[in-house]
């Protein structure tokens, strides 16, 4: 076995004069929202740089532990976005996602994780503008909310 390069990831360069920049992890489905995100990108719609897209095949595969992991790992918010109801490439994955988000909304806010930090949206493939707007609104809202508690805690 070859030796794995284990050098850890370096800390980012500090951004000059930066105010609080929220980190948002977005789980987006491969078929609709990812396409919309791509459309927003290729159409050069102004999008908040605070969002990191994690492409999933379907929102129905977003395991609650991914959302928990992201929020504990210092994400200031999590966005889950997929096809409109009835439009899911996999027939009904988005309905299942909705139940999981509902579940987490009953759990996490009780521990001080503001419910506004977890967002579920439906963004169709042609809704590049909707995606950009959603992301921008969300980022602005989270900026307003401030950094998530977990960022300061040495826990995972």
């Amino acid at each position: 076995m070859e030796e794995l390069n284990i050098a850890p990831q370096t800390q980012s360069e500090p951004v000059p004069g930066a105010a609080f920049e929220p980190a948002i992890v977005a789980f987006v489905c491969n078929w609709c929202t990812y396409t919309a995100a791509d459309l927003a990108g290729t159409s050069r719609m102004v999008q908040s740089p605070n969002v990191r897209l994690v492409r999933m095949m379907c929102t129905g595969m977003v395991d609650p532990k991914y959302i928990i992991k992201a929020l504990l790992g210092g994400a200031d918010a999590v966005l889950i976005s997929g096809c409109h109801p009835g439009d899911c490439h996999y027939i009904n994955g988005n309905y299942k996602a909705r139940r999981r988000v509902k579940l987490l909304m009953e759990i996490l806010p009780r521990f001080g994780i503001d419910g506004r930090r977890i967002k579920l949206t439906w963004v169709g493939a042609s809704e590049g503008n909707e995606f950009a707007a959603t992301v921008n609104r969300f980022a602005a809202e989270i900026k307003e909310l401030g950094p998530i508690d977990t960022r300061r805690l040495p826990l995972l």
Partner: protein
């Protein structure tokens, strides 16, 4: 259903009466064995025992307030799969019945192969306290005192577990048969109520004297429930306050050493192996280092809060509030308080109640096309 029969108590000894009841069950050709709590020879309470020989019923102690583990898991082992090992009659606490029903929904056991008999439950002591109560060592007088008080108060210096004090499901109405203790004089007689057609069938075959409902049980139950609901409210409020933000939550869980005993003791945590014990959480050294560098410092072992939150997500909708998690915790983390508090809200959110109805699908296994539109800003 609603048929009520009477289990006569002779010599003021309800335990013997129930042993006799078990013997009758065993005598029925259909029942292969009886699963019931039996006093441990060394004292300290009971453990479930699978009794096939009526002779061995003498130590069976269904009324002892000892609850060393949730027997639902045991019963799944006896009923699993299509393999017809015969019908097992199980004397269970209500929380065990409900846990068993949850497990059956998840294919872990089969309701087909079990005759569920529940007892009105005044509560039980924690494992630590269990041995201190004389009634758990075979002392009938203590036990009778305990039963008469409905588990309220202190006995030999100990109280029943907080899970029991805050339990709002002290009757096992979900079982085939329920043995009624509340409002009854345990020295005179107990009630037997049939809740299912199968229970009805057995009740007829057991040929017990008929009884009438004089309302005494309901009245006693009502009083008990009122107290317990108040206790529950208080527990929820305390727990909510103690975990209201991530800092408090981590303090709440600060004694946790990631031993995962809580999940091992949990009746509805049915996974063969918890995901937190699998290679998914075998992080690489560079990952730890990278996290440490990222945050300045990380707690070791990692993933403690992650574990509890994930477990809440995985099983809070199935939580029956039996308190075995707290019972199993070596470091007295108030796990039960946390889980029960959250479970109350997750189950309510899905209009679901763990163990209430075998026909009710677990909330995360189903969906409706139009629901929870508020999550997506009213759009669905």
């Amino acid at each position: 259903m609603g048929s009520i029969a009477r289990i006569e108590v002779t010599n003021g000894n309800p335990v013997a009466a129930l042993q006799g009841f078990c013997a009758r069950l065993l005598a029925d050709g259909e029942i292969s064995a009886v699963l019931a709590p039996r006093l441990l020879p060394a004292g300290g309470g009971t453990m479930p025992a699978l009794v096939a020989d009526p002779e061995q019923l003498r130590d069976v102690a269904p009324l002892a307030p000892s609850f060393r583990l949730n027997a639902a898991r045991m019963l799944t082992r006896l009923t699993r799969g299509a393999d017809d090992g015969g019908l097992v009659a199980a004397l269970l606490r209500p929380c065990e019945v409900r846990a068993f029903i949850e497990l059956c929904k998840l294919n872990q056991g089969s309701l087909e192969n079990a005759l569920l008999i529940s007892l009105d439950c005044p509560g039980a002591f924690t494992n630590a306290d269990s041995g201190r109560f004389a009634g758990n060592r075979g002392d009938t007088a203590s036990l009778l005192g305990f039963l008469r008080a409905g588990g309220r108060g202190s006995f030999d210096g100990v109280e029943v577990a907080r899970a029991c004090r805050t339990c709002e499901h002290p009757t096992g109405a979900e079982a085939d048969l329920t043995i009624g203790l509340f409002g009854q004089d345990p020295e005179k007689g107990l009630l037997l109520m049939a809740n299912t057609p199968r229970g009805e069938g057995f009740m007829t075959r057991l040929d017990l004297p008929e009884a009438t409902d004089d309302g005494s049980r309901d009245k006693a139950l009502e009083e008990l429930l009122a107290e317990r609901r108040a206790a529950q409210e208080q527990m929820f409020a305390e727990t909510t306050a103690a975990t209201s933000d991530m800092t408090r939550l981590s303090q709440f869980l600060s004694a946790c050493v990631n031993c995962y005993n809580c999940r091992a003791a949990c009746p509805v945590c049915y996974c063969k192996e918890c995901v937190f014990l699998t290679d998914v959480f075998d992080h690489k050294p560079w990952q730890y280092l990278s996290w440490a560098r990222q945050r300045g410092a990380i707690k070791m072992p990692t993933d403690t809060v992650f574990f509890h939150l994930t477990r809440l997500a995985h099983m809070s909708t199935a939580c029956v509030g039996c308190g075995q998690c707290s019972n199993a915790c070596p470091n007295d983390v108030p796990v039960m308080e946390l889980f029960k508090t959250i479970a109350a809200s997750t189950q309510k959110a899905f209009e679901y109640e763990a163990g209430r109805d075998p026909g009710e699908a677990p909330p995360l296994s189903v969906f409706r096309e139009h629901e929870f539109a508020e999550l997506t800003g009213g759009v669905d």
